[in-house]
């Protein structure tokens, strides 16, 4: 009972602090925990496994296969809210690393051309959840 009360107090305190922070920096984030987000997470897990295998092959294989490249991708298709999620997904999948993100482009460092190409095809950009229906 007492612990429950403390729990409620804690949550209230955190919400109040967050409210103050939101008022100060005026950067409010909303993350919709809906079905599409969960589906995206599952898909991302699969991608992580696949690309980990690629990097593992590169680590244990010879150095010749290693052809690091750098490239820019447009992010116009990705809604503004989801861009950070997009950038972090790129970094999370081994083999591709997001170096920079601005309003138009993400700069990506990839271990080989193959992984850069698969990003260019735009699977991940299409799958990132968020209001894809053009509001952005």
């Amino acid at each position: 009972m007492l612990l429950l009360a403390f729990g409620i107090i804690s949550v209230a305190l955190v919400l109040w602090l967050l409210h103050r922070m939101n008022n100060t920096d005026a950067e409010i984030q909303k993350l919709a925990l809906n079905l599409s987000f969960i589906r995206y997470t599952m898909w991302l897990l699969g991608q992580v496994v696949l690309s980990s295998l690629t990097v593992t092959r590169l680590v244990w294989g010879s150095r010749k296969e290693l052809k690091p490249t750098i490239g820019k991708l447009p992010v116009n298709k990705v809604p503004k809210k989801s861009r950070v999620l997009y950038a972090n997904s790129i970094t999370l999948t081994p083999g591709t690393l997001c170096i920079d993100i601005d309003n138009e482009n993400v700069t990506i460092h990839a271990l080989n051309e193959e992984s850069l190409h698969s990003l260019k095809r735009g699977d991940m950009a299409d799958k990132v959840p968020g209001e894809n229906k053009g509001v952005s």
Partner: protein
Amino acid sequence: MIEIISSVFLIVGAFFSLTGAVGIFKFPDFFTRVHAASVTDSISTILIIFGLILRTDFDLVAVKLLFILIFMLLTSPTASHALAKSARHGGLLTLAETRSDKKVGDD
């Protein structure tokens, strides 16, 4: 049964972890090494934490493990990204750029 699945998860996770650790020595420059480190951060963390969750009674301990997993999956790509970004802005060149700068075909 669950025990076996958990063991497989743990061992594969440990293998990926070691792979990443070897990678940070074997890869030639900073940016490629970040990739190697991200193997240990993403897949091996996921596998090991899931392997441990399967060993709990799915109580508070499992929730805490899940909390660690979410926390790490949020922070570690962020840390890699921020580090790579400041390395880039600090003027560190990637391998391809260094090679084209020198105009010499090394190794």
